[in-house]
Amino acid sequence: MLIQVLVSGSVLGCVYGLIALGYSLIYKASGMMNFAQGDVLTLGAFLGYTFFSMLGFPFFLAFILTLIIAFAFGLGIERTVFRQLKAKNVLPIYIVLATIAVSYILQNACQAIWTTKMLSFPRIFPIDSLKVFGVAIQTESIFCVAVSILCMAGLHFFMKHSRFGTAMRASAMDSKAAQACGINTSLATGVTWAIAAGLAAMAGMLLGPIYGVFITLGSTIGRKGFAGAVMGGYGNMYGAMVGGVLLGLIETLTSSYLSSTYKDLIAYGMLLLFLFVRPTGIFNEKAITE
């Protein structure tokens, strides 16, 4: 049983990690907290469903199309909503509130456009499941893990070693100074949000075949992803992944060996402990001071 629990906990953790990457990215590159990631995930799942299942496009094409739309959405939201807010120099909490409003809109818009039903996302792979360490895991879950790890590595490299990534980080740390250096901060911020939205939408498409597609698919996962990001070090790409996996493992271990009723309690308790004892997370990521 232990193997099964560890494997499934890690898989769940990778899902959290993918969401956490989005949160950390936005924070690292623009200093803001975004509560709508979970719902962008749901949007991605619905979009993927539309392209893959309803219109019958091949998976790869559906994937790309969903990503493009998510990118556009992220850019659009940044341009219309967050740029205005930043220009008016409001308290960061208003931006958080705006993301909460976006979250409400996304959830209910998805319901209005698609449906309240639970939709069935067809399998992507012909093979049902593979055996990992003797435990049967759905193929899509393994795909999810692979994608998460790729993203983590890719993003980390991008943020730290590429020119544009560094420009993004600079804009987040001090946008006036960055502009003085000739960095196009507006583009940088826009791209950040676009990538984050893309990450979430991607996660949604990957989760669709595993969990089905319905309007509250992303909400709880979003919050847990956020927790995972903080545990690993908010703003750190590796941290997001590690934090997510750690959270997934804690949850699954708790519910199998201790108690499923108090599973969330223990997970959140651990989070609180982390915050009180080591708020910068596992990877010791310093917070961006105002």
Binding site: S8, V11, M118, F214, T216, S255
Partner: protein
């Protein structure tokens, strides 16, 4: 400065008054005699305000349970339309007032208050979420307005509210047949997976009590939090506890998820759910749904042709003509039956007076509805006291007894 605030506030208050009045503009109870004091309320005027019967509806139209809510509302709308075509209730045209209780008890109370006080309803078709019926029940009953809740948890019929009734399944009444079936099969170990909402918990508790009394051991009882989609930890524990059969007591949307995860981790045995395993869950979980059984009065279908019960079939055809598709949730049936029982009660009473109608409900007997024959004469406010058992085989529903006859259980062992 503060003057401006005061001005704005007063304007808003006027707007509020306008909003409040939009629901009916009627001069119901004098101010303070709000529904809370049971003593005062003989003064609620009899329904007809110039030949209109106001029927209220409170359903979750947004949130996790938006689907059942929507199906229920559609069924009520259809029923109202058809009854109005036949002349309405005692010649009064039915006006439907519907609100979204968002599946939240707080909203349900506000909606109930609005329905009772502002819209002055003559009857209410209540929420399919049992906690919402619970929260609004007290005020509706003390106001003397008959309400047919469409949730399946036993709790809200145990509060002693005289004006609250149920024309659909009470999980407590169905579970004994499930336990009997298990005993007959010789099952001795069962693991439970339950949600934390009222209906799930009640279902799980009742099952545990019945099972223990029948000598069945409950190897473990796991739960999950609404919103969670991964149950691998719980599943691992359930399988390792050595259970032969699983009892799943959850909301609709969770069913396919737990089914898939149980099958994925290696449990292919018999599972019982506390109520209907819906047709959309069947589609999502596919082959994982096989060997899921449940005790329930009715099924949901993808095509009216599949249905061989005449009264259900004609309902399905009417629904399909009106909405272009079949209801995915059985809440549609529950709501429909509630309106039919109300109609029968009004006929028996011969008037739309609320108190008379409520009394008349207790005389409804032998009424054929989608759920079967309803009988309210037992006096507990419930119309159904037993139900069928179905099981899923090859992704289709068949009667449990038939499955047994065909050797299904032997094959599983």
């Amino acid at each position: 400065m503060k003057k401006i605030i005061a001005l704005i506030l007063s304007v808003m208050m006027l707007t509020l008054a306008a909003c409040g009045g939009s629901g009916g503009g009627n001069n119901s109870n004098n101010g303070g005699a709000a529904a809370e004091s049971a003593a005062s309320n003989g003064n609620a005027p009899a329904a007809s305000d110039g030949g209109v019967y106001v029927l209220g509806s409170s359903q979750p139209l947004t949130g996790t349970n938006a689907l059942p809510g929507e199906c229920a509302l559609n069924a009520v709308k259809l029923a109202v339309k058809m009854i109005n075509e036949e002349g309405g209730f005692q010649g009064n045209e039915i006006k439907l007032v519907s609100y979204d209780d968002q599946g939240s008890p707080e909203e349900a109370v506000k909606v109930a208050t609005k329905l009772v006080e502002v819209d002055n309803c003559d009857a209410i078709i209540g929420s399919c979420i049992s906690s919402c019926v619970l929260s609004g029940g007290e005020m509706v009953s003390s106001a003397g307005i008959p309400m047919f809740g469409t949730g399946t948890s036993p709790t809200w019929m145990q509060q002693g509210w005289d004006y609250v009734f149920r024309a659909c399944q009470n999980n407590d009444f169905a579970l004994p047949s499930v336990v009997d079936a298990l005993v007959e099969l010789g099952v001795t170990k069962v693991a439970i997976f339950a949600g934390q909402d009222d209906a799930a918990v009640a279902g799980s508790n009742t099952f545990q009590d019945l099972a223990k009394a029948a000598g069945i051991e409950i190897t473990t009882a796991e739960s999950y939090v609404e919103g969670d989609t991964d149950y691998s930890g719980q599943v691992a524990k359930m399988i390792n506890s050595g259970a032969e059969v699983m009892f799943i007591s959850t909301f609709g949307p969770t069913q396919p998820l737990i089914a898939k995860q149980l099958r994925q981790y290696g449990f292919n045995g018999l599972c019982f759910t506390k109520d209907l395993y819906q047709v959309d869950a069947l589609q999502v979980a596919g082959a994982a749904s096989n060997n899921f059984a449940f005790a329930y009065p009715y099924l949901t279908y993808t095509d009216p042709e599949e249905c061989d019960i005449p009264v259900v079939r004609s309902f399905l055809e009417a629904y399909q003509t009106e909405y272009g598709e079949l209801p995915t949730s059985d809440c549609a049936y529950r709501a429909w039956d509630s309106v039919m029982v109300l109609k029968e009660a009004i006929n028996l009473a011969g008037t739309t007076d609320r108190e008379a109608v409520a009394k008349a409900v207790g005389q409804v007997k032998g009424l054929e509805t989608l759920a079967g024959v309803q009988d309210f004469t037992l006096g507990d406010g419930e119309g159904l006291h037993s139900s069928n058992i179905f099981i899923i085989e090859n992704e289709k529903y068949i009667l449990f007894d038939k499955w047994l006859e065909n050797g299904g259980w032997e094959a599983l062992k």
